[in-house]
Amino acid sequence: MRRRRGELLTALPFLLPAYALFLLFLVWPALEALWLSLHRENLFGRGREWVGLGNFQEVLARPEFWKSALLTLKFALVVAPLELVLGLLAALLVYRPYPGVAFFRTLFFLTTAVPTAVAAVAWGWFLHPVGGWANRALAGLGLPPQPWLTSPDLALYTLGVITAWSGVGFTAILLTAGLQNIPEEVLEAATVDGASPWTRFFRITLPLLSPTLFLVGLLVVLKSLTAFGQIHLLTRGGPAESTMVWIYRVYQDAFFNFQVPLAAAEAFLLFLVLLLLAALQFWLLGRRVHYAA
């Protein structure tokens, strides 16, 4: 109908509010942070000098950085499967309508409404060495109390569970929708053919759900790579740096060690990893468009 360029002028007033804000408050600071990462300066912001990729080299040469990268990977590998399994379980229980399903749906999806700080406090109390329910329950079973958040061996896994718990609501919502998208006829046909519930699940439901599962999994991994609040409130990267994931190290270097350009370099590397994962997700999404139809 119209020439391709012509609509640009009409589009401008629509695009301007959002994109002007993006430019000013997202793109500009991101670029400035990148600029900062190519320099060195003292902690008062003075004596700035160009070092090119010097900060990046320094970051990649430090064993602590790789330790953090590994911890982040470990963390994602704990959170993602846990969150997916828990979310799938919840979704399977509520995707079909039945009396009372709305009540259960609300409870299962609830954690999306819990802010990180509140979740951290709730779990901090739940895992409290003296008054927490978790250790009390263990004592009731005759088991010794566990140093959930104070043991270098346990802390990361504990935080992983807390993070998975926080996200399970969101995951459950997405998986519920995914399950609802599976055509009822296919499952009914299988039942008529005499397939057991297990067979139906593993041979039909799961494969049909797999694109959604994969997408949701990727989303969960992305979120786990930037999990910050609960670490800050509960362990501060400890004990013995066992929860010093990538983004927490960025924070630590910027605000504790006052090494802002170095932190900016680390943050930029994290951003690259996120970008890679997102590109992957988009490529896969593109291939799935026809599936839904």
Binding site: F14, A18, L21, L26, P29, P115, T116, F228, A292
Partner: protein, 270 residues
């Protein structure tokens, strides 16, 4: 008859729901206990009391913190809804060169972690003279890449006919936006509203940095604040946390339907 088949579902769902909500429940329980009862065994408080709430509210300007969070969250939510809908409309209903690139930009921006941009953003905000004001807490967030993404995805799923019909009838793009796109996007807007409200309510690092006076601080800072102050008095900390939880909980419950539909549609139909 059907109910018998549902029994295992009810049992499993109940058990699972109980375990899921347990940490929140023990938090609530702690918030209703006097200090002496904190370590008393059992899930329910032995002598329920509202004392911790009274303490939390009197020792800390919680109402002010909550008000600040509310104002900021509402302002940002409205802003995000408006800017995202406008941009998404242009990105789906209008044709121009660079349209896909602009969308790609929004997606890429989704990934920039706040901890990266915080410092330059702080310096910018300071240069604008906005430190310790509502402006610093709201303006940078009035547009959201997530919002643009979700709404654009959603608008694409709407049938073209509605829009074409309106255009043929001579409506301007503004009118189409207002009378066609807006009502049809209600589920996605509801979801985005809930997500944005909760996300803004949840912000911690940024408000901590840009606010100085206690009058301007937000609810999340309050939680950390109380946690650090009331080091051993978990009942007061719990009360504070519950108070901070309530608004998002209510927002979620109100918008649950729209929320759920919107996220699912936006997240999957890609």
């Amino acid at each position: 008859m059907r109910l018998r088949k549902l029994l295992p579902t009810y049992l499993m769902a109940s058990a699972y729901a109980f375990l899921l909500v347990l940490p929140l429940f023990t938090l609530l329980s702690a918030s209703l206990r006097a200090e002496g009862d904190l370590y008393a065994p059992g899930l329910l408080p032995p002598h329920p009391t509202l004392e911790p709430y009274r303490e939390a509210l009197s020792r800390y300007p919680l109402p002010r913190f909550l008000l600040n969070s509310l104002l900021v969250s509402v302002a940002v939510t409205l802003g995000v809804l408006a800017t995202s809908l406008l941009a998404a409309y242009a990105l789906t209903r209008l044709r121009f060169r660079g349209r896909e690139a602009l969308f790609g930009l929004a997606v890429a921006l989704l990934l920039v972690p706040g901890e990266v941009t915080f410092l330059p953003l702080y310096l910018l905000v300071d240069r604008l003279g906005w430190l310790d004001t509502y402006a610093a807490l709201t303006v940078p967030f009035l547009a959201s890449p997530l919002g643009v993404f979700l709404l654009r995805q959603y608008l694409r799923t709407l049938p073209e006919d509605y829009f074409d019909a309106a255009r043929i009838d001579g409506a301007t793009h503004w009118q189409v936006l207002r009378h066609v796109a807006l009502p049809l996007s209600a589920p996605a807007l509801g979801a985005l509203a809930a997500l944005t409200f909760i996300g803004t309510w949840n912000m911690y690092l940024w408000p901590l940095v840009v606010t100085k006076s206690r009058e301007m601080q937000t609810a999340q800072i309050a939680v950390n604040f109380i946690l650090n102050e009331e080091v051993a008095r978990w009942n007061v900390v719990a009360a504070g946390a519950i108070l901070v939880l309530l608004p998002t909980l209510i927002a979620f419950l109100l918008a649950q339907r729209a929320f759920v539909r919107g996220i699912a549609l936006g997240g999957l139909k890609g």
